[in-house]
Amino acid sequence: MKKARKIPLSGLAAVLSLGLMALAGGQAVGFDAPEEVTLDQMADLYEPVEFDHAAHIELTEENCAVCHHHTTGETPVQARCLHCHATPQPAESVACADCHPQNRYAASYLRAMTAAPYRYHTDIVGLKGAYHRLCLACHQEEGAPTGCQECHARTERGDRRFHAGAYAPAQRPQAAHH
């Protein structure tokens, strides 16, 4: 498993840094892990997030399974995963987007999820959901930033969408009716 891996975290996302061979010790990170990853799932409303992968590897004490489940070959964190993944093999790909689809609601995807017989994982969150649920849950627990704009600043388009910033409604008395 020494092959250099790309981690295409999103359609446009490029892995900024490859081939960090030796992150301080630990076999778990014994393969190429990017140092930084650009997350730009919502790039129209928010600036892309420069995700400091390296820092989070440290924060998780190099337990990749905290975020990558069983795909890196480590024992999953959640008990219910152990039924099948008690002794996991490293997967072909550890990239989030390989399992968590960007287009979660594409008709073809929805059909594939339910049409395949015996399929267990029919309730996989999309890529954006995966990021937010994973990141936010941990950030809340660890007291890390949780505000939307603490991770990604809104773009001008985003301000317009939220009627905020330069597009905030003029202060006015409450509408009279109802």
Binding site: R80, Y105, L110, R161, F162, A164, P169, H177, H178
Partner: protein, 301 residues
């Protein structure tokens, strides 16, 4: 006797009674108690344990439906200080609930639940509403008279009314983004905007299975109920919650019968009155006036 035939009987009776030409109604509008929804209809599963109250869905709805500018920005959390409902200017709102059972506040998104057998549809006397096979409850504002019976009938207090308009006030409510998205197989704008995937879009039947799986796979996280699976005949939008539903603003007394089933008791008597009354009262008349008639005859002869 099946409900369907009762309904058609009613229609026939009405037609006879008022000599109204019967406009054919789309099969979709024939809501009966036995109608469990279109098999392929889509829905959304709202997972309250995932919602963080960011109001992205509200902002997305506002943009998608070209609604008026809100009073406060969509990132303003002061709106949570009061419980809001859907209005003519907001087809979806998120409310915050502090509950004793949960550590964190819970947020609940409100919008049209898109019932399998919509009360609004069955109460509308201009047939403005339609339940599409995709699952949306849509309406034609160009025929809306403004009687607001659908607002009375909706058990979820969803339809709002454009009270502010003097010239063209009509009903205003969520249409599941039918025109711009759902009919093309795409999820509504709110679902797409949700960062947490608290809203899961899919076939209603799949979502029900998914919901029960989530409950099963996360012992202790959820109340063992999908709100909307059976309520008032089932809804396309359904909810999972970590606390009892009545603590987060849901009406848990609605029962499983569609609203129309409460009205059927009256609808059933309509054809009977229409057909029996004339003969009955002509009979009364003949009985009551038979002496006079006899007298009249005598006079003549």
């Amino acid at each position: 006797m099946k409900k369907v035939s009762r309904r058609s009987l009613l229609k026939a009776g009405l037609a006879g009674g008022v000599a109204a030409g019967l406009a054919g109604r789309p099969a979709s509008a024939r809501a009966t108690a036995s109608f469990g929804g279109y098999p392929e209809s889509m829905g959304v599963l709202v997972d309250l344990t995932r919602c963080i109250g960011c109001r992205s869905c509200e902002a997305a709805c506002n943009a998608e439906q070209h609604l008026p500018e809100p009073d406060l920005p969509f990132d303003d959390t002061s709106v949570f200080e009061e419980k809001r409902r859907t209005t003519e200017r907001a087809y979806t709102v998120v409310n915050r609930y502090e509950t004793p059972a949960a550590e964190h506040p819970l947020y609940r998104k409100i919008q049209c639940n898109h019932c399998n057998e919509p009360a609004c549809l069955s109460s509308c006397f201009v047939n403005a509403y339609r339940k599409t096979p995709e699952g949306a409850v849509i309406y034609d504002p160009t025929v809306c008279v403004g009687c607001r019976t659908c607002m009375v009938a909706c058990p979820f207090y969803v339809p709002a009314y454009a009270y502010s308009s003097a010239t063209n006030p009509v009903i205003k409510k969520c249409i599941f983004c039918y025109d711009t998205r759902l009919r093309y197989g795409r999820p509504p704008a709110c679902v797409e905007a949700c960062p947490q995937e608290a809203l899961t879009f899919g076939r209603r039947q799949d979502l029900i299975k998914m919901g029960h799986e989530r409950i099963r796979n996360h012992p202790g996280r959820y109340v063992d109920h999908i709100y909307g699976e059976t309520e008032v005949g089932g809804t396309a939008w359904m909810y999972l919650s970590s606390v009892p539903f009545d603590q987060v603003g849901f009406d848990t007394d609605l029962g499983t019968a569609p609203i129309i089933s409460y009205v059927k008791e009256f609808l059933t008597i309509v054809p009977m009155v229409l057909t029996i009354w004339p003969a009955l009262f002509v009979g009364f008349h003949l009985l009551a006036t038979r002496k006079e008639n006899a007298r009249d005859k005598e006079k003549k002869s």
